[in-house]
Symmetry: D2
Subunit: 339 residues, 4 copies
């Protein structure tokens, strides 16, 4: 049983295409806000201001729609070891002209720092996943902000620039890169400047960046732990294995059902490599006019990860600009600690 | 260097959608027929009558377009062990009204038997892969054969019925099921009646069933071997592993580059499970109006297999009706033998 | 200003694909139910039981998302002539096994009769448009009703069977066909049995058939009138013209802006002709694996009607089984009466 | 009967998506080159060097796949009036780095002038249609030309820049704009700089710009005439009517069958308006992640034109950058002259 007052964040995958015209993210946000408000007595708007609902559209291939609800209970407990900690924060509203700009980078960095502090996570090294949902805009929104001079009038491209700026904000806040590289000019150019723990999405259903920081803290207790690892490319099952090993899962081609029952959430970020090549052979994702490259890569990497962890309810998000190594991405896993 | 006179079959993946309106299969067939005819002096039509060109459209996700060329050289060699053998055959032309019917089942069975004999494969147990390409028809083709009473006027559905009938023909020829179950009435009903080695496609570019039988024979020599395994469901990496183990590959999450260099071809058949469930969790492939279920499942299972064998140039075909266990499929792998 | 208490029906076009996995219909329904409930003090569920919200997804090509709100004010007025009248009704819930069955035909017919009576429309000849939204089901819904033996386990096909049964119910209620032809066996076979005023949709967001009857009645007053006409095929601009002429619009290639300002709503039903031919030339809509035939035909016929009436905010719904002549459809137009 | 030696150009619509990964254009080109070479004794390559085959993919909605074959017979005839004239030319090969650049503008202008001269068209005012097919490139092609610094690494975007440069080349050659506006810097900026007769496409199947100029000349005789008109926006049936009127067709909502039998070819260029608005109402074409904007607009404008001319075999091409007024496009019609 979930106590709605204890919910602090929700992350999930919905049925839409995950692109500009995906309304399933907003639909689920609205549905949950009304559901919770009906129990807590808050207004739905107050619920949305209190709880970041971060949904990514697109459950291609074997992926299963689902969402993970994070709840926190206040208690006084002796801690033998660090436990999963969660903090949230919101930036001010962003206009189309702010997307992919220094303002988005800096506001995101501030929000990440704030969320980390509110979670009592002492060190950046203890942060394993930062999920961000920033705003996307339709053509008419973009044109209406002519004064802001948006960096692109292509809605899909602007989504990507926003993901990139958000990722650089995370990297800056956590000290993964020096502030001098967390700049607007690095977007789409300096791919060595990336965050290893950022996962950034965009959607028309939000107007500012919503930030969820997940890490380990000695101020928290509970049965759960989180770890992360880089994915070097789309086939990097060794990366998946690294995250699993850090959580104490034994080596195997695929987790057994019993092992998989320890999993609480799996978050993956990935992208179709920009040079059209994976391990020396060409892919066709970037030339396809029928299926967007993000849907292709989510289907592929989602299935690969699902096959290793023996679970299809994993969060997979495409568009990994400055989120993990170029052409790759990252994975974070929450699991019950072994005894 | 390939000697065009020695080519006996070509199997590959092309760039199209793999559905009714995929013209990339026909384009590549025409291109290769002209290319070969320019060297051998045959007419392009003679080339097409001699060599089955079996292409499957759809290189979703990480998959890489490619084709495998099978060549045979006559020689007199002492054989220490069995080697890869290949045989081909063609059924007579099939009309829309023949698709998914007993006539297609029986003609396919005859052709498989003929191809197996021509390959000097003694036992059905030595057959590891039977690739079939049968005809697909557009709406106007179907309506033009009103006398034949086609089993469906939906072009995509008729493709599926043709794949099913072809698979039952293979199962009958190889004795995988008794003749009493290789009947029209079993199609789409008796899913326990299947072939473990059949991989059936359909395309508008052919008018009869083209059959390629691959197996092991003591009458052949050469460095290659073939093995196959069933895939129980979309996440069945253990099945992939079974085929690899039969070929002597050591256990690993992923083949190393050196190990993968032994691979010559990987053929996979798969399908979106009919009940909308994979290992207890729902998938959305059957309800998607934007991306066909076959494109979803090829992207997913193709990526999973690619991640295990460390190669993206694998042949993955969707629509596994009566080809492997229901909801799963099969895999066949050709590799250089270990010394 | 709309008084929410006076709203009796809403019909509109939303941004989704109009197929099984279109959640924009449900999203708008939920949004409006909450919006209205916030003003009237009803619960959102009570709003949904009182007001049929009938949305069709898919604003392809030039079409513009929009919705038409029908409000009714009680008054005592002398009537010189008949005016637009509206009545609504709901059938009981329908299970997957009811779809495309006699039960759906008969319950729909009863609901139409009921809605017509509640609208005080005396004669069937005065009914010009009957909009129905019936339930659609996903694969898992369909499989869960195994006892009901649904007529198809293909969600998209089942939507079409439901539209057909609903249309036959309308035709039966209005006496357009004898009850002996309004039978389950006629579906997909007896295409001469159709309703000239029915427009039927299906969506996962409803569980019974929701019925809106629009016609002319001397019991009503107001500035609006409605007329309808058959569309013989996808290019039948003469049909569009017939409906306009009945409302007193002068002949023209395209209405002027001033003329178009009289329009209040335009409803169109259309389909890709089953034989793959329009006026002797082939179309490709039925063979396309990338874009569903309904999206194609809505884009085409929607644009044609928009070009004649000089307005892109028109309701266009695909899937015209037994709704207008085979291969065509129908059009109904609400406009201010000329003085 | 067509004499293959007399064929000078072929223009048509094929079944593909009309985007980067459309191989139906190349397939038909190859098929016709082989067909013609089999009769004339030329090599297929020589046929392709002699005859421009310009195919546009995408027969959305009611559109019918077809191609128009232009043949020319030498004769000595007294001319009472001007008749349809055709001239062709080819630019040198263009690399990815040339696309959307001054070099493409200028080479195209030279080729247009050359084609016009070869057609003996005396005045620019007599040119009514210039069809150009330029090269498109996949991601790997683009990356391989890093020295050329291609203006975009997005294949679809590069196609658009190439269409724009080609159109400016036509406008320059015909004196529609001064040379000072036919510059690289005008692309995507100075939308007042456009050609009223240009229709530009791009495809991976060609490597230079192929140019077909159609106009009227007193040096030619024959029963055919060509006229053109601007399309101000997607609903501009008055523009269609203008072209018809110039050819002597009487006013009508739709041509009768007898009238339509005079038509020989209809060419249309159109685009989804950049501001997301048509006549004051929003469209959704630019925000759609499932269907490309070009497929939407071809379906819509193609259907509108088809409904006016009573023929679905019309050539409709999307992507009208600098081809006709911004947000609109152009139409050219070839018809038998009235007696």
């Amino acid at each position: 049983m979930v106590d709605p007052d204890e919910i602090v964040a929700v992350i999930g995958k919905t049925h839409g295409n995950g692109l500009v015209n995906d309304y399933t993210r907003g639909f689920l946000t609205q549905s949950l806000a009304f559901l919770i408000s009906g129990v807590t007595g808050e207004t739905p708007d107050a619920v949305k201001r209190r709880i970041p609902f971060i949904f990514s559209g697109g459950v291609e291939g074997v992926l299963s729609p689902h969402y993970s609800v994070f709840t926190v209970t206040e208690s006084i407990t002796e801690n033998a070891e660090k436990a999963l900690a969660v903090g949230v924060a919101f930036t001010p509203e962003l206009a189309p002209g702010d997307i992919g700009r220094q303002r988005q980078i800096d506001l995101t960095a501030e929000a990440v720092t704030h969320a980390m502090q509110s979670a009592n996570i002492q060190s950046s090294a203890d942060v394993h996943f930062v999920q961000i949902k920033g705003p996307a805009f339709t053509v008419s929104d973009i044109l209406a902000d002519a004064d802001g001079k948006p960096t692109s009038d292509n809605p899909g491209k602007l989504m990507g620039l926003g993901r990139a700026a958000s990722a650089l904000g995370v990297a800056k806040a956590l000290g993964e890169i020096p502030a001098s590289r967390a700049v607007e000019a690095a977007i789409g150019k300096d791919f060595g400047a990336f965050s290893s723990v950022a996962s950034c999405s965009a959607g028309v259903e939000v107007r500012g960046n919503e930030v969820i920081v997940l890490g380990m803290s000695s101020q928290w207790s509970g049965p759960l732990a989180i770890e992360h690892a880089a994915l070097k490319d789309a086939l990097d099952t060794a990366g998946v294995r690294n995250a699993l090993s850090a959580l104490g899962f034994p080596e195997a081609l695929q987790l057994s059902n019993e092992q998989a029952s320890r999993l609480r959430a799996v978050f993956v970020k990935c992208e179709a490599s920009r040079d059209g090549i994976i391990r020396g052979k060409s892919h066709t994702m970037l030339n396809d006019g029928d299926i967007d490259q993000q849907r292709h890569i989510r289907a592929a990497v989602g299935a690969i990860v699902a096959s290793v962890v023996n679970d299809t309810a994993i969060f997979v998000s495409g568009g990994a600009e400055h989120q993990g190594p170029d052409g790759g991405g990252m994975i974070a896993i929450i699991a019950e600690r072994t005894a």
